[in-house]
């Protein structure tokens, strides 16, 4: 059980997701959530938390691997690359 302030604080601390915070505050979207946080005296952090940085790094690595695979596939079968174009 959390007050609106506690929910916004927990969101900023990375303890609950933005979806859960929206549910607990009635914010229509993340932009409104940010406005509510500002009005509730909670500065919105712009830096990633260590866990979020880790997730971002994983996602980046995955995207890079997929792109490398595509290039490799295209090199192996030039016909497919033409079709893809």
């Amino acid at each position: 059980m959390m007050s609106v302030h506690d929910a916004l604080e927990a969101w900023q601390a990375g303890e609950i997701t933005s979806g859960r915070a929206r549910q607990m505050t009635g914010a229509a979207d993340v932009m409104e959530l940010r406005a509510f946080a500002e009005q509730s005296g909670l500065p919105v952090r712009v830096q990633l938390l260590p866990r979020e940085e880790e997730q971002a790094a994983c996602a980046t690595a995955l995207i890079e691997r997929l792109m490398e695979n595509e290039v490799r596939e295209a090199t192996r079968s030039p016909d497919r690359a033409v079709v893809a174009e």
């Binding site: 059980m1 959390m2 007050s3 609106v4 302030h5 506690d6 929910a7 916004l8 604080e9 927990a10 601390a13 303890e15 607990m24 505050t25 009635g26 914010a27 409104e32 406005a35 509510f36 009005q39 509730s40 005296g41």
Partner: protein, 213 residues
């Protein structure tokens, strides 16, 4: 986990907006959930009752009955100025001299409370007025907790005290009242390293009508 502990608020001061909204949906009883005395400046009461035909006014007139009103009506020196302004506006509808006097009455009351040791009287202002909450109170009364009607209702839902904040917001809208999008639940900072909080009481039993006084 972030620490949520705070200095419990001891009294609530209400602006006219939340009173009109809660009256519009017939839920003035929700003020009891604070389990704290609710103070209403005389000008705010007068504003609520000024136009008897407006949304919530009849309910508020009944609620403000002196013998049964569960809130404290606080006299301020601004009531005379407000009455004069209203009289002038009746003669000339282009004048808007009464605008802002309710906020001024709240500010006057908060200034009186400031003269007490602040740790003894942590105060919450219930308002729907963003410029007042984010301007005047944030700048001049940083020790005061600001809570909007929307934040009150959402928190009551989060604590299971009402089934749905949205249903109440819908009732307010259906009654013809346009509620501001303003949402704030901003703790006051009575002294360095402290902050106010108000919602802990919601985790306990339901309030009795006598709890408010």
């Amino acid at each position: 986990m972030t620490s949520r502990a705070g200095l419990p608020i001891r009294l609530v001061v209400s602006d006219s907006g939340p009173l009109i909204s809660l009256a519009a949906c017939g839920r003035l009883d929700l003020l009891l959930e604070f389990r704290r005395p609710v103070h209403i400046p005389d000008v705010v009461k007068a504003e609520c009752l000024r136009f008897p035909e407006k949304v919530g006014a009849a309910t508020l007139a009944q609620w403000f009955e002196p013998d049964t009103c569960p809130a404290y009506i606080m006299p301020t020196p601004l009531l005379v100025a407000w009455q004069q302004a209203v009289a002038d506006e009746a003669l000339n509808p282009n004048l808007h001299m009464s605008v802002g006097l309710g906020d001024a009455a709240i500010a006057w009351l908060l200034r009186q409370i400031q003269s007490y040791p602040q740790e003894q009287e942590p105060t919450l202002v219930l308002t729907e007025d963003g410029p007042f909450g984010d301007g005047v109170i944030r700048n001049d009364f940083p020790e005061v907790h600001v809570l909007s009607t929307r934040a009150l209702l959402r928190t009551l839902e989060n604590f299971g005290r009402i089934p749905s904040a949205q249903a109440i917001l819908d009732d307010i809208a259906h009654a013809g009242r346009q509620l501001a999008r303003y949402l704030a639940d901003r703790p006051g900072r009575p002294s360095p390293g402290t902050k106010t909080s108000w919602a802990e009481v919601l985790a306990y039993r339901r309030p009795d009508p006598g709890d408010i006084s």
